[in-house]
C-alpha cells in the first residue's frame, strides 16, 4: 500500500489569482480539494467604525475605497441612504448624471471582471482588450471628476461636478464603439472550446442554495432567480428605462459569464436611452442644508452594484455624524459560498470558481 497524505496548501494572500489579498487554505488530495478555509481581513480598514466619527460628506471617499472597481455605485448607496432619511429632492440633471456614471461604471467593472477572469483561465490577450475599452470609461470619469479610480463624485443632494462641454457626446460615441467591441469579445472568447470546457458545469448551485447563502447579482441570477433591484425595487430613475434582466439556468460559471456579458449590453441600452433623455441644463445640486443632519432614526437602502446587492444601514441620532453605519457588501456575502463550492474540485477549478464569484477584496474586508 502506498501511504498517501493530504497536502495543506496556502493560497494567498499573495497569489496572482486571488484578486488582491484574499487568502484561502486548502487541503488537497493530489489535485482534488477536500477542504477549503477562507481567511479574510488582510485589507480590513474599519470603514464602518471610522465613519462614526466623520460627517456624511467625509464618508464618501471611504466608500470609493471599498469596491474600488465600482466606486460610483458605492458612492451612490451612501448618498442615497442619507437622501432617503432627509427626503431630499434631487435635480433632474444630477439624477441623469448619476445614472450615466453608474451604468458606465457597471460596464467598466464587468470589463475588468471579463479581462481578469480570462487571465485566471490562462488567456492573456482578452485582459488587454478589456482594459483598452475600460480605459475609455476611466478617461471619461477622469474628465468628469478628476480621478480615475476613487472618484468621490456624488454628494448628498446631487453630484459634485457638472459634465464638462462635450462630455455627453463622448458618452454617446462610446455606446456604439463598445457594442462593436463587445461583439469582438464574443467572437474572440465566448465560443472557444477550451474556455467553454473550463467553465461549463463548474461551481454549480441551485436557486434555493443561492437564496440561502444570500447571494446577489450575477451569482444569484445565474441560478435562475430573476432579481435585480434596478427592476424590482427601482431606485434613482431606473423606472424610466427599458432593459432586460438576463437570467441563467444552470447556476454554473458559464451562466455567470453569459449574464455579465449580457449586462454590459443592457447597460449600454440604458445609457443610450439616458443619452436621448438627458436634460440640456439644470442644477446639479439640490437644496441641501449647510450641515447635513439626518433626523433621528434608521434607514436601510439597497441598490444593484455590478457585484450584487450593496446596502447601507444608517442609524442617526440627529447629529452630523452617523451613530452607526453598516454596509452590506455583496462581495463579502457572495464569497461565503466558496468553501462549499470548492470541496471536490481541482486546484484549477479553485481559480475558475473564485473568479466566477467576482469579488473585490477591498469590499470583502472593507
Amino acid at each position: 500500500m502506498i501511504r498517501t497524505e493530504e497536502l495543506l496548501l496556502n493560497v494567498g494572500p499573495q497569489h496572482p489569482s486571488t484578486h488582491g489579498v484574499f487568502r484561502i487554505i486548502v487541503k488537497i488530495d493530489g489535485e482534488v480539494i477536500t477542504e477549503a478555509i477562507p481567511v479574510m481581513g488582510y485589507l480590513h480598514r474599519g470603514t464602518e467604525k471610522l465613519a462614526e466619527s466623520l460627517n456624511y460628506t467625509q464618508i464618501i471617499p471611504y466608500t470609493d475605497r471599498m469596491d474600488y472597481v465600482s466606486a460610483m455605485t458605492s458612492n451612490y448607496v451612501l448618498v442615497h441612504a442619507v437622501e432617503t432619511m432627509m427626503n431630499l429632492e434631487i435635480p433632474e440633471r444630477a439624477q441623469y448624471l448619476r445614472l450615466v456614471v453608474m451604468e458606465l461604471q457597471r460596464v467598466a467593472s464587468h470589463l475588468v471582471w471579463w479581462g481578469t477572469y480570462l487571465l485566471d483561465i490562462g488567456a492573456m490577450t482578452p485582459f488587454l482588450y478589456a482594459f483598452r475599452d475600460r480605459e475609455k470609461i476611466i478617461d471619461m470619469f477622469n474628465e468628469l471628476c478628476g480621478a480615475r479610480l476613487t472618484y468621490n463624485y456624488m454628494r448628498v443632494g446631487g453630484v459634485k461636478w457638472d459634465a464638462p462641454v462635450g462630455w455627453i457626446d463622448k458618452v454617446r460615441e462610446f455606446i456604439p464603439y463598445m457594442r462593436k467591441n463587445l461583439e469582438e469579445f464574443h467572437n474572440l472568447v465566448s465560443g472557444n472550446e477550451i474556455f467553454l470546457a473550463r467553465i461549463k458545469g463548474i461551481g454549480k448551485y441551485d436557486a434555493q442554495t443561492a437564496i440561502d447563502y444570500g447571494l446577489s447579482g450575477a451569482n444569484l441570477r445565474s441560478a435562475g432567480v430573476k432579481w435585480d433591484l434596478r427592476k424590482d425595487q427601482p431606485y434613482s430613475i431606473y423606472d424610466r428605462f427599458d432593459f432586460d434582466i438576463p437570467v441563467g439556468v444552470n447556476g454554473d460559471c458559464y451562466d455567470r459569464y453569459v449574464i455579465r456579458m449580457e449586462e454590459i449590453r443592457q447597460s449600454l441600452r440604458i445609457l443610450e436611452q439616458a443619452m436621448a433623455q438627458f436634460p440640456t441644463d439644470g442644477d446639479i445640486m439640490g437644496k441641501v442644508p449647510r450641515i447635513i443632519r439626518p433626523p433621528e432614526g434608521e434607514v436601510y437602502v439597497r441598490i444593484e452594484s455590478p457585484r450584487g446587492e450593496i446596502g447601507c444601514h444608517i442609524v442617526s441620532r440627529g447629529k452630523a455624524e452617523p451613530y452607526r453605519l453598516k454596509f452590506r457588501r455583496p462581495s463579502f456575502v457572495n464569497l461565503q459560498i466558496l468553501p462549499k463550492l470548492l470541496v471536490g474540485e481541482t486546484m484549477t477549478n479553485l481559480v475558475t470558481i473564485l473568479g466566477g464569484i467576482d469579488i473585490v477584496v477591498g469590499e470583502v474586508d472593507a
Binding site: 490562462g122 492573456m124 473550463r198 481541482t346 484549477t348
Partner: protein
C-alpha cells in the same frame, strides 16, 4: 560534410567538432535571446501593445539585458531544499535540450551528425528533460513546485506516446529514422511534403508537441494563475535561466523537427523556386512554425489538467493509432 563526418577521429577533426559544437551553442543561445524578443514583440502587437522598445534600438537588447540580469542575480537555494538535486535539476533539464539539436539537418550539406536513428535519438533524449523538471519541483521543497512537477510528469507520459506514434506514420512513408533521409524523401512540389499524406499525423504531432513544450494552452506545469509558476518557483538567477533556456531550446528543436518531418525540410514548395538556397527555405518554414506558437499563445486559454489527460488518452492516442492504420493502407495502395 559527409566525408568529414565519416573520417576517423583525430585531433584535427576533434577540434573542428568542438568548435562547431560551441558555434551551435552560441547559435541556440542567440536564437533563444531573439526568440524571446520576437515573442514579446509579436504578442505585444496582438495585444495593442508595443512590446520591448527601450533597451537598445527597437528594444533589440532587451533580452540581452534580461539574461545579463539573471546571470548577475544572487543565487539562492532554499534552506530546506534538497541541495544536490536542486542544483542538478536545471542541468538535467537543459543538457538533453541542447543534445537533441545535434541530429537536426539544416540543408543537404549542413548537418552535424548523420545518425541513422536520429528521430529515435531525439525522442529518447527529450524525455529526459522531464526528469529534471520533476526533480526541480521535488527538490525545491515547495508545494506549488511539487504540484507543477507532478503535472509535468503526468503530461509527459500522456503526450510522449501520441507524439511518437504520430511520427511513426512519417517513418513508414520515408522508410527511415534518419532525419536527413526523411527530409530528402520530400523533394519536389509541396504536395510531396509529408504534411499532405500525413495531415492527421501533423495535427496530432503539433498538439502533442505544444504539450511537450509546456506552452499555452498546455502550460500547466507552470500555470501562472494557479501554481504561481510551478516547478521553478524557487529558482532564481542563472538556475532559473537554465530552465527558461531549455524551454526555448526545445521550441527551436521542435520547430526544426516539424520543418524536417512534415514541411519538406530545406526544399522549396515548387521546383522552379530552387534558385533560393535551401537554408533560407528551411528558416522560412522554421520561422512560420515559431510564429504559429506565438499565435497560439496569444489566443488560447489554458486547459485543465484532467481535460489534458482525457485529450491525450481518449483522443490523441486513438487518433494516432488510426493514423498509423491509414498510413499502412495508403502505403499498400499507392506504393
Amino acid at each position: 560534410m559527409e566525408d568529414f563526418l565519416q573520417k576517423t577521429l583525430g585531433w584535427g577533426n576533434f577540434t573542428i567538432f568542438a568548435i562547431s559544437a560551441i558555434a551551435m551553442l552560441l547559435i541556440s543561445l542567440g536564437f533563444v535571446t531573439y526568440f524571446i524578443y520576437f515573442e514579446r514583440k509579436v504578442i505585444g502587437w496582438m495585444q495593442f501593445r508595443i512590446g520591448p522598445n527601450r533597451t537598445g534600438p527597437l528594444g533589440l537588447l532587451q533580452s540581452v539585458a534580461d539574461v545579463a540580469k539573471l546571470l548577475m542575480k544572487e543565487d539562492t537555494i532554499p534552506k530546506k531544499a534538497d541541495k544536490a538535486l536542486f542544483i542538478l535539476a536545471p542541468v538535467i533539464t537543459y543538457v538533453p535540450s541542447f543534445m537533441v539539436l545535434a541530429v537536426i539537418p539544416y540543408s543537404e550539406t549542413l548537418y552535424f551528425t548523420d545518425l541513422n536513428v536520429g528521430l529515435l535519438y531525439y525522442i529518447a533524449l527529450s524525455g529526459i528533460s522531464t526528469i529534471g523538471i520533476v526533480l526541480g519541483g521535488w527538490a525545491s521543497n515547495n508545494k506549488y513546485a511539487l504540484l507543477g512537477g507532478m503535472r509535468s510528469a503526468a503530461q509527459m507520459v500522456s503526450y510522449e506516446i501520441p507524439l511518437v506514434i504520430s511520427v511513426t506514420g512519417v517513418i513508414m512513408i520515408s522508410g527511415s529514422l534518419n532525419l536527413r533521409m526523411i527530409a530528402m524523401g520530400q523533394e519536389g512540389w509541396f504536395w510531396h511534403w509529408n504534411i499532405v499524406p500525413q495531415i492527421l499525423g501533423f495535427v496530432i504531432f503539433t498538439i502533442a508537441a505544444i504539450a511537450e513544450l509546456n506552452r499555452t494552452p498546455f502550460d500547466l506545469p507552470e500555470a501562472e494563475s494557479e501554481l504561481i509558476s510551478g516547478y521553478h518557483v524557487e529558482y532564481s538567477g542563472f538556475r532559473f535561466a537554465f530552465f527558461m533556456l531549455s524551454e526555448y531550446t526545445y521550441v527551436y528543436a521542435i520547430a526544426a523537427l516539424t520543418t524536417v518531418l512534415f514541411l519538406g525540410g530545406w526544399y522549396a514548395p515548387a521546383p522552379f523556386l530552387d534558385f533560393i538556397p535551401g537554408l533560407i527555405w528551411f528558416f522560412a518554414k522554421f520561422a512560420f512554425v515559431v510564429f504559429f506558437l506565438f499565435w497560439i499563445r496569444a489566443t488560447l486559454p489554458r486547459i485543465r489538467i484532467d481535460q489534458l489527460m482525457s485529450l491525450g488518452w481518449k483522443w490523441l492516442l486513438p487518433l494516432s493509432l488510426l493514423n498509423l492504420f491509414l498510413t499502412a493502407i495508403y502505403m499498400e495502395i499507392f506504393r
